[in-house]
């Protein structure tokens, strides 16, 4: 997307416990900042794992302070889902601004992103690993 002043991007931890991590995304998640998104979230996930072990089941991303998002930002989010889903962490997208809702709707990936993840050691996860059959968006 085109420039959104200020072109800054930051992540803040809103709340955390062993099973749930709530992060707030501030600013712009676009072509210029999306490269920072994945390592920034990964760092927080690693920190959580160091403290609580692999107990995390829910990652909430709060988008209330998001000023803009584009296809590169969405690509970064899909990259995050690739990491969290096999680890049994379900993504939750909270307080999306209208433009983000529209982007998710047009691209048809909302259901895929927030698909419920089975804990990696459960029998359901073993069956679901590989190709996901429930990624269909509701048109």
């Amino acid at each position: 997307m085109t420039p959104c002043p200020p072109p800054e991007f930051s992540l803040a931890v809103q709340a955390t416990d062993a099973r749930t991590l709530r992060l707030a995304v501030h600013g712009c998640l676009d072509y210029d900042t999306s490269d920072e998104f994945t390592p920034a979230v990964a760092e927080l996930l690693d920190a959580h794992a160091d403290r609580h072990g692999p107990a995390l089941r829910h990652l909430h991303l709060d988008w209330a302070e998001l000023t803009a998002v584009d296809s590169s930002g969405l690509s970064a989010l899909l990259g995050l889902r690739r990491r969290t889903h096999p680890a049994g962490i379900t993504l939750h997208l909270d307080h999306q601004p209208a433009h983000f809702t529209r982007l998710l709707e047009v691209t048809g990936v909302a259901a895929h992103l927030t698909q419920h993840a089975q804990p990696p050691d459960s029998p359901a996860a073993a069956r679901a690993s590989g190709r996901s059959a429930t990624a269909a968006p509701s048109p």
Binding site: T2, S71, V106, G108, S132, P137, P139
Partner: protein
Amino acid sequence: MLVVGRGGVVVGTNDAARSLLLEPAQENTAPNTAEILTAGGRMPRWLAEAHGRLESTGTPPGAVTGEVAGRTFQAHPSPTEDGDVVWWLVEDTDLRLAEQALHSERERAALLADISGALLSSLNVDRCTEVTARMAADHLADAAVIVAPSQGRRHSLTHAQVGGEVTQVMVPIDAGSVPGLAEALRGFPPVPTRWIDPADLPDWVVPPGFDRPIGSVIVTPLPGHGMPAGVLILLRSSTHRAFTDGEEVFARLFAARAGAALSAARLYAEQASITATLLRELLPPRLERVHGVEYAGAYRASQDHERVGGDFYDVHPGADPTEETFVVLGDVAGKGLEAAVLTGKIRSVLHALLPLSGDHQQVLGLLNGALLNSHHTRFATLVLASVRRRADQVRLRLTSAGHLPPLIVRADGRVEEAATSGTLVGALPDVHMRSVEVVLAPGETCLLYTDGITEARGGPLGDQLYGEARLREALRECARMPAEAVVERVQMLAAQWLDSDRHDDMATLAITNPVGGHGSPHVVVDGPADRGPHGKEL
């Protein structure tokens, strides 16, 4: 110090002046042209003349300068009370030499600044080589040759001589035939000029038309980034004095500047050639009328100096009017060449899948499989359209794969969104789409566009998105327009809306059922739309 009386007669001298001025005269009675004989002895002509001027005008002149026995002196006059003039001679030979050296250093510094200016203004290799040869011949030698790095077995030679043309030839040469050349071509330090015998030079070194005998030669590498940019050979004719050590050092300085510029130009040329090769494959195609349906596309890359980016479109005409024409417009995440390379892959895959274009779902499923990649989640969104004319109607099958749905501009100005949706391709294991059938009456247009249009940021407040609502409003005025006019209007409005130069790629593609029949030239008329409905093309 010498005292000169009336009429230029030397009245008295001290020992220093006597040894300087008078003693040679005792060995040689005939005065040379630089001296005149006076009653009291010899004195330099320039001093005698200055004394004459002083006597005739009566006013004491300032100091005068002249040469005596290869040394330079300033002579300061001071009249005495009895009418004689005492000339105080002060030697300034060393000062003069220092001033001369300073002057030539200044000239050289100015020349180095000149060459940098002349060369850095161009990124054209031939032009840079020509300027280097020309400046070297004009300022450093009588003739100059630049030997470019080899291309296969041949080298490009650029010859220049003072007051002559600069010529370029491509010839096979033996680098071993000039002492130091083979080494210089590999970037080794230059061979001292006195080691090179001009008589051993092969004919190709001498510029065509340079007929004077060669007296001295300098061979110096043109240092480049990582590899030498070539070799500079300077030639002086035997009538001109040989190169001094200072000139040889200066030639190396000159070569360093020229080599840096040449090397930059060569690197740029290589990059430009790689980009041009890629661009040829990636540029959007020119669109035209196919089987009675108008197609028009417009594309503006995010960086205006780039001509490719993450948006793309293609129109694959049906083999005959009964076959569907297959249209695609899409957008990959990212910008610039990196994104353009992925668009190239998608366009190739879709081209290969043309025989299956009757089933959009299958085409997109196969494309998704081809793009899925474990390393990244770079995806594409696209719209497919299969277009066929039926009598005066144009029938479209539209499928969006995670892309903004096409907008339909009806002949009465209504704007509808095509009811198609689906998942983007290249990131998810499975994709699902819903296609829609749309019929265009004459004068109606289906517009495919990328989000660069709706996400153009600007407007009166500077930070608003152009948005889908404004685009629909603008399209209401595009009813019954030719396809070309619709895309131009949309691109123009989005460009006007933009507040800054920064924007995403913007692509638009219009599919129009022309007013006035599909067989005749498109003219916007308000007359009956059924004129020529059964044109010759069907």
